[in-house]
């Protein structure tokens, strides 16, 4: 049975094409590209909310996109227990919709950060099944607001429910700080309670081809397909 997926494009999305290629190359199945004003979503296994600056990041990153017409369908898709992945701006949109806890605030150094980062999995879920414990993944980040924040109560919930999917870590020979953007407990990605919705700041769609510096981004799709 082939794996079906879709990528939503908002005005200002700029990683939608990258996400489409990522899915096409790795799933070998049908991939739909859905414009934000659509009111229906085909029945697919995975939906990606891609990175970028939806609506120019005006108001607050992800805030405007979370009110787009297609979002009702995206929520239904998630409630149906199917996979939803928000990458970078997609993660910000998921927190704005309320499908994920917490918020993404400005990076600790108050500067855009575009470089390789290193992450490892924290708690097991269907998005990171193929990743070994303590395996360090090298994946690029590119964000201004990637500093994950939540209150202590929420943090305890995330821990108790094992919703933390990825955390930043030190890379071998790397000059980069361990907690690259100052996220609380170095959180790089979280899921919802049911663990079918994942938001992450690093861009796996920029680390999968043979010519990319790393192919670790494949592991997420491989986890979902396996």
């Amino acid at each position: 049975m082939s794996f079906k997926s879709a990528v939503i494009t908002f005005p200002g999305s700029n990683c939608d094409r990258d996400a489409l290629y990522y899915l096409k190359d790795l799933t070998k199945g049908v991939v739909h590209n859905i414009w934000h004003e659509e009111t229906s979503l085909p029945k697919v296994d995975l939906v990606i909310l891609p990175g970028g600056f939806s609506f120019g990041d005006y108001l607050r990153s992800g805030a405007m996109a979370s009110k787009s017409k297609i979002i009702d369908e995206v929520v239904k898709h998630a409630n149906d227990n199917r996979y939803l992945l928000g990458i970078c701006n997609g993660f910000q949109i998921l927190t704005e919709i309320g499908l994920l806890e917490g918020a993404l605030i400005r990076n600790k150094k108050l500067k855009f950060l575009g470089k390789n980062c290193f992450i490892k999995k924290k708690f097991k879920n269907n998005f990171n099944l193929s990743i070994k414990d303590n395996q360090v993944l090298q994946i690029p980040v590119a964000h201004n607001e990637g500093n994950f924040y939540c209150d202590t109560e929420t943090l305890n919930l995330l821990k108790n429910n094992e919703q933390i999917a990825f955390e930043y870590c030190k890379g071998e020979f790397s000059n980069t700080e361990e907690n690259i953007n100052g996220s609380i407990e170095a959180i790089a990605g979280i899921t919802n309670k049911k663990k079918n919705v994942l938001g992450m700041m690093p861009h796996p769609e920029r680390a999968y081809s043979d010519f990319h510096q790393s192919q670790d981004g494949r592991l997420i799709i491989e986890s979902l397909i396996s």
Binding site: C15, G51, D57, L113
Partner: protein
């Protein structure tokens, strides 16, 4: 018309008399505004035209040379590459964030106006000495602005250069370059196709920003001007540009557009005049139809430089479809005029013709000057005492000089991996991206060596071209073509004019030898403030390709134990005093010593050896030798836990920037093959050492590897904070 008004518009009284005589009537204020915009250096190249004409602009791969929004070269099959560099110097000094952001916005529009999707940006930025607070403010603002605009649109920044030098204290430089991919059968030009075609306005509403930007950019600055001129810096909105880009590319791929021109410097005036001139037709535009952000006079509409706007010509029958596509992208769209057969530019406002001018007088009769220039006197080389220089001091010099340190602080603020096709990120000898869906890669590098050009404009320019050339060769990228950005001080000074003329001559010589024609460019003159002229800074952006991405070289060490060779001009003991990390030596050299003649044939021969050895897979890694000499090249090649052990006749020569060529890493088992190949080709080489684990050793002297690498990587941020 009173003299003061004419002079305020940047025209000389002689120039005004030419217009007055041609028209045989008085000009309207709007018409004066048009001449002000079209007859300044920025738009008509009145000083540089005579010399620019001498540059080679064509060969078998050039599809479009200078004169369009961007140059285009052939990359086989149906692939073309559009690219151009442009300056935004003055705006970036007045308002660093918006000035540099709109510089990126402008150059991206130049690329997608041709029907090309931008796939990479580069830049070349120069500031004064970091000791002044102003420089820190400018550096932060410029880097933030470049990053903000490019990151938001989602075009990877793949490289550039960043230099600090005192003559840029009050006149920083911001040059932005963009590269796009276009299908050869879908290139769009600014020339309209048919009489009666509708002229349509696409993009942001017009406001007061940037009025007289183009003539400001051609002015000499004084410091008091700064506050007064701030309102004429444009404000950019990258989100709008992203929508505009997607909307325009969709219109073009749907075949709904005949021609397109971006409203850059001098806004609607220059874009419509260009269209009329290119097509040898006339234009009629009703200014009342122009979408406005605030009430504006006809004069203001004509000269506004509001960003993110395009002018296009469409067939009447496509009007509805065009509107539909642009509505989807939420972009303003208005039919504002039509192409006529009058060969006149006519603007109407409130049912009154405010401008009615023959295209000929604006474009063809634009002034062209043959300004006086002096050729610099030949320098006398002074003897230099090498014995006083210590190796340890040279290393400290290098690790405390911003110009030689790792600039991740800058690059990390740019998104260099968006679009998923980046192969080499900034900070390496050249940035490289893949053409999506193919095995082809494009490499690009921006370079300039203002000190060399100051010392000897002709030879110095050859060095600058050679530096770009080497940057590409080191990655096994075939150099193909050049875009240039000539930044100079006032050409009214014959010494400065001499620098301009001679460096163009040097550019020509090198471009012909390397078969890399100049396909696009930009000139920025009057870069001086308070009578301090900048060093001559003719920046070039060179683009090259390799048809097979698996063949490109890395710039980083691959394996411990591999041998290190240098290739190129042989390292003779104390060959030259170009030890420029030392400020005192740099000053001394700038005062007295001339440059040695650069042998371009030799340069080509060595380059061909690198390319052939790379194709034979004999080169494990390669870096060019430029600033900071061999030592700096080796530091840049450091990777993971690898360091180097080298032995040379005199370690001081490791810092000489002059004896240039390449550092290559080869496997021991390939040593015989490589050296006999080089001997056969008559290429000089020297085995200088090997790659070792976590160490730096020079002529048996051991240095603290971690301390040096740590300083090399982190000192930039420390110094600028």
């Amino acid at each position: 018309m009173n003299e003061e008004l004419i002079l305020q518009h940047g025209l000389t009284l002689d120039e005004f008399q030419v217009i007055r005589k041609y028209l045989n009537r008085d000009l309207s204020i709007e018409e004066l505004g048009i001449f002000s915009a079209m007859w300044n250096e920025h738009c008509c190249y009145k000083t540089s035209k005579k010399w620019l004409k001498k540059l080679p602009t064509d060969n078998e791969i050039v599809i479009q040379g200078p004169g369009e929004n961007a140059g285009v070269i052939d990359l086989q099959d149906n692939d073309g590459i559009a690219f151009k560099i442009e300056s935004h110097n003055h705006p970036s000094y007045i308002e660093p964030f918006n000035g540099s952001a709109t510089g990126v916005g402008g150059i991206l529009r130049d690329i997608f106006t041709m029907g090309a999707r931008p796939i990479a940006t580069l830049d070349s930025i120069r500031f004064g000495l970091i000791e002044t607070e102003k420089t820190k403010y400018l550096l932060n603002g410029v880097v933030h602005g470049i990053g903000h605009y490019g990151n938001c649109i989602g075009i990877p920044n793949i490289g550039g250069e960043c230099e600090f030098e005192s003559t840029y204290d009050f006149n920083n430089l911001v040059n932005a370059m963009a590269v796009g991919h276009v299908q050869k059968d879908k290139i769009f030009y600014s020339k309209p196709k048919s009489i009666g075609g509708l002229i349509v306005y696409i993009g942001s509403k017009t406001g007061k920003d940037g009025i007289h930007g183009a003539s400001m950019a051609s002015d000499v600055f004084s410091e008091e001007d700064e506050d007064e001129k701030r309102p004429s810096v444009q404000v950019g909105d990258p989100f709008m540009e992203k929508l505009l880009m997607e909307g325009c590319l969709e219109l073009m791929s749907s075949g709904l557009i005949e021609s397109m021109q971006d409203m850059g410097a001098a806004g609607i005036t220059s874009s419509s005049v260009e269209m009329a001139s290119k097509g040898n037709v006339g234009v009629f535009i009703n200014l009342d139809k122009v979408p406005l952000r605030q009430p504006l006079s006809a004069y203001e509409i004509l000269l506004s430089e509001s960003q993110e706007r395009m002018l296009a010509v469409i067939d009447k029958k496509n009007n509805h479809k065009v509107r539909e596509i642009l509505q989807k992208w939420q972009i303003d769209y208005e039919v504002i005029g039509e192409i006529t057969d009058t060969k006149r530019v006519v603007f109407e406002s409130n049912n009154k013709k405010v401008v009615d001018l023959p295209v000929e007088i604006i474009v063809d009769d634009a002034p062209e000057y043959d300004r006086e220039f002096y050729i610099p006197r030949k320098r006398k080389n002074k003897d230099f005492d090498f014995s006083k220089i210590k190796l340890e001091d040279m290393i400290i010099n290098l690790l405390t000089n911003l110009n030689y340190l790792d600039k991740s602080w800058v690059f990390d603020q740019y998104d260099s991996t968006v679009m998923g096709d980046t192969i080499r990120e900034p900070g390496q000898s050249s940035g490289i991206v893949k053409i999506h869906g193919t095995q082809k890669v494009i490499g690009a590098s921006t370079d300039c060596n203002p000190l060399y050009i100051k010392i000897n404009p002709y030879e110095g320019m050859k060095y600058t071209v050679a530096e770009s050339y080497r940057n590409l060769i080191a990655c096994n990228i075939n150099p193909l073509a050049i875009t240039n950005n000539l930044n100079f001080a006032s050409p009214l000074d014959p010494n400065i004019m001499g620098e301009l003329v001679l460096s163009i001559h040097g550019l020509k010589t090198a471009a012909i030898k390397f078969n890399t024609p100049i396909v696009s460019g930009n000139v920025s003159l009057y870069n001086q403030t308070n009578e301090i002229p900048i060093k001559p800074t003719p920046v070039i952006g060179m683009v090259g390709s390799n048809m097979d991405l698996n063949k490109i070289n890395t710039n980083k060490f691959c394996e411990i134990g591999n041998k290190i060779l240098i290739l190129g001009k042989q390292l003779t003991k104390n060959c030259s005093p170009y030890l420029l990390q030392d400020q005192k030596i740099a000053f001394y050299i700038c005062e007295f010593n001339d440059l040695e003649v650069l042998d371009l044939d030799f340069e080509k021969k060595i380059a061909n050896c690198v390319l052939e050895l790379s194709d034979l897979k004999c080169i494990m890694s390669c870096n060019d030798i430029s600033r900071g000499g061999i030592f700096s090249a080796l530091l840049k090649m450091q990777h993971k836990d690898m360091g180097f052990r080298v032995k040379v006749p005199d370690p001081i020569d490791l810092f000489c920037e002059y004896s240039a060529g390449y550092v290559i890493e080869i496997r021991s088992k390939d040593f015989e093959e490589v050296t006999s190949f080089l001997t056969k080709k008559g290429a000089e080489y020297l085995e200088i050492g090997e790659i070792i684990k976590e160490g730096i050793e020079i002529n048996s002297k051991k240095f603290d590897y971690f301390d040096i690498m740590n300083k090399y990587r982190n000192n930039f941020e420390k110094i600028i904070s």
